[in-house]
Subunit: 351 residues, 2 copies
C-alpha cells in the first residue's frame, strides 16, 4: 500500500472554547505543527480508511456505508481524548471532498468496465489529531479533523502468507486496552513484529492472543475469517468476537457477515474465540475450506498459507489457485454494491 | 505540568538512504509536516523527559545521567520502528542545546540558593518522529530527532491522591506490548481513565494489572514505590519489576534504588510483583511507612492517599504532613547530585 496523495485536503479545526470551526477544502499542503503538539508526543490521533468508487451505471461517485466510519471515528476520538462531532455532518463533508477529487477516478463512459482486480477506487483517509502545544499529559484543547486521499494500487496480487505471532513475545491488543479503536497507538507498535514476518517472507502477522489459548484475533491491520466444515458437517464462517475489545469492528467484516447470513442462511456465521490450533486441526482433518483477511485497504484478501509454530500450513485456494469460493463470492457481492451495479442501502451516491 | 517552550529547538533529520543529517539549533518554530506523515497516523513517536539544572557551586549547567536517557530513547525508537543513533553524540547534542538555553535557568550568583520546592530547572524533551509521507503501514524512511525545552513549574504542591484502576476495565500495558518504552502509544490511551480519576478528585491513576492479582505497576506516567515494614520486621522498599515489560525503566526509579542500596544497606529494596491488597493489609496492620511516585517530571512525589475499591486508604506523611521521611531523604540525595552540591558521577556538567 503505497501511493501519492491527491491535490486537496479537507480541514476543520476544533478548540475546547469555541468548538468546531468552518470546514475548508484547500490545496494539499504541509501542516505547520508546533513541536510540542500533543499528537507528536502522546499519540492523540485516530483515523479511518474508506474508499470512493465510480458507479458503473451512472458514473457518479459513491462511498460505502460511510455512517459506520463516522460512528467509528467518533468512538476512536473518544478513546484517545479527542473531540466528538456530528456523524451526518461528517458524512456530508466526506461526500463534498470526494466530489472535489472525483477526477482521480477513471470513467470509461459506459457500464462495461471489466470486473477484474483493476477496479478503480480512491482511498480516503479521514483523520483527527490533537494540536495543543503542551508537554503536560492532558486532554488536548485543540484538534484538527482532516480528510486526505491517496491513489493506492489494489492489493490483490497474490494470496496472503500469514505468520502467526508468538503471544509470549508480542501482543497487538489486550482486554482493557484500545485494540477496538482505530488509533495510531495500535499501528506503530506492530511494525517490529511485522518487519520480522516480512524478513521471513510473510505478508502479514496473524495476531494471536493468550500464550495458552493461542486465540486468533486479526491479520495485520485487517480482520480475519476462516471457513471450515464443522465436525457435524455444517459450513461455518468464524471470526474473532468484539467482546474483549481486542479486535476492530471492521466495516468489511461486518458487511461480509451480514451478507452471508442474509444470502446463505444454511451457513453458520460465528463470532467466537477460536484457536490457531483449530485451524491446524481443520487442515489436518480435511475440514478446512478457506480463509481470508478483510478490511478497507486489503478488501477481501484470500489467505494461502499460515506459518504456525514452524510449520507452513496450506489453506485451499480452489478458484484458480488464487482465492476460495466464498471469498470470491463475498467480494463480488460487495463490489456490486460499491460500484453501483445494484441498488443497495449501503451504497451512498455523492451529489 | 503546563509551561511554555523556550526560544530554540535542536533538529536532526534522518533518511533511510542517507542516514542522519547535520544537527542544527534553530529558532523554535512550527514543523511543516505532510498530512500523511506516519507520525500523525501510526504513532511513530517516542520521547524522553529530562531536566537541566544550574550548579549551586559553580553556576554551570548540569544534566543528570543523560546516558540512561540516550539509551532508553534508542530502545524506544527501535520499538516503534524509528532509527537508532549514537548515544554519545546524542548526549553531546543535548548538552549543546542546554548550553544555548541556559538563560532560562536562574542564577543567584552564589551558593546559597535555598533548598526548597522552588529549586529551578529546565525541562528538556528529546523526541523522535517518523515523517515519511505514506499512508501504507510500514517502517518510516524518514525521521526527525528534536530537542525542545519547556519552563515547567515544580509539581510539589501537595501529596498525591491516587486512584487504583480497575484492571477489568482499563489496562495501561500488557506483557508482549510496549509499556516499557517511552512511546506516545503509552500515553494518549491513558487520558480517558486519567480524566475519570481527575473528575473524582484524584491526581493520578495507580495502574493495576490482572483482575485477579491486582498487581501495582505505575502511578500515572511515573514509577511507584511503597515502603513498609515486613511481617518479620525489616523495612522494605517495593516497586514493580521490569520483567513483564509493562513498566518503564525510570531513571529516577533506578537512581532511588541504587542510592538506597548503597547508603542504607539495612533496608531491603525489592523489585517484585505486589498487589494493591498488600498495601491495604500493610495500612490496616500498621506496617505501612510511606509511598511515593517518581519520575523526571514528578521527581519524587509523596503519596498521601490511594482510592482502592471504594475506600480512600491513607498513607502516612510523617514530615510535616507533606512527605514520608524516606522520600524526603531520597529527594535530597538526588538534589545534591542534580544541583552539583556534591561531586558525583551521575551529574554531568555542560561545557
Amino acid at each position: 500500500m503505497t501511493g501519492s496523495t491527491t491535490d486537496h485536503m479537507l480541514t476543520v479545526t476544533w478548540s475546547n472554547s469555541t468548538g468546531w470551526g468552518a470546514p475548508a477544502i484547500v490545496p494539499y499542503a504541509p501542516l505547520p505543527l508546533d513541536p510540542s503538539a500533543t499528537v507528536l508526543h502522546y499519540a492523540n490521533e485516530c483515523f479511518e480508511g474508506m474508499k470512493a468508487y465510480r458507479s458503473k451505471r451512472t458514473g457518479k461517485i459513491r462511498v460505502f456505508r460511510p455512517d459506520l466510519n463516522a460512528k467509528r471515528l467518533n468512538m476512536s476520538a473518544d478513546r484517545i481524548a479527542l473531540p466528538s462531532f456530528d456523524n451526518d455532518e461528517f458524512v456530508a463533508l466526506l461526500c463534498a471532498f470526494a466530489a472535489v477529487e472525483e477526477r482521480w477516478l477513471a470513467w470509461s463512459g459506459n457500464a462495461t468496465m471489466s470486473d477484474t482486480d483493476e477496479n478503480d477506487f480512491l482511498y480516503l483517509r479521514p483523520m483527527m489529531i490533537g494540536t495543543t502545544p503542551r508537554l503536560g499529559l492532558s486532554k488536548p484543547n485543540d484538534a484538527m479533523l482532516l480528510i486526505i486521499a491517496s491513489k493506492l494500487p489494489s492489493w490483490h496480487s497474490r494470496p496472503l502468507r500469514l505468520l502467526a505471532s508468538s503471544p509470549e513475545e508480542s501482543v497487538r491488543a489486550w482486554p482493557g486496552g484500545f485494540g477496538y479503536a482505530k488509533v495510531g497507538a495500535n499501528y506503530g507498535p506492530t511494525l517490529k513484529t511485522q518487519s520480522h514476518a516480512s524478513s521471513l517472507g510473510y505478508d502479514q502477522v496473524l495476531w494471536l492472543f493468550d500464550a495458552d489459548k493461542r486465540l486468533v484475533t486479526e491479520a495485520g491491520g485487517a480482520n480475519f475469517f476462516v471457513v471450515w466444515r464443522t465436525e457435524d458437517g455444517r459450513v461455518e464462517f468464524v471470526t474473532a468476537p468484539l467482546e474483549f475489545g481486542t479486535v476492530l469492528d471492521g466495516v468489511t467484516r461486518r458487511s461480509v457477515m451480514e451478507l452471508v447470513r442474509e444470502r446463505m442462511p444454511e451457513i453458520s456465521v460465528s463470532e467466537r474465540h477460536f484457536s490457531v490450533d483449530e485451524i491446524v486441526a481443520a487442515v489436518d482433518s480435511g475440514r478446512i475450506i478457506e480463509a481470508f483477511a478483510c478490511g478497507t485497504a486489503f478488501f477481501i484478501a484470500p489467505v494461502g498459507e499460515i506459518g504456525i509454530s514452524g510449520r507452513d500450513v496450506k489453506i485451499p485456494l480452489k478458484v484458480e489457485g488464487k482465492s476460495g469460493e466464498y471469498a470470491r463470492t463475498a467480494r463480488r457481492w460487495l463490489e456490486e454494491i460499491m460500484y453501483g451495479e445494484i441498488e443497495h442501502a449501503w451504497g451512498v451516491e455523492v451529489n
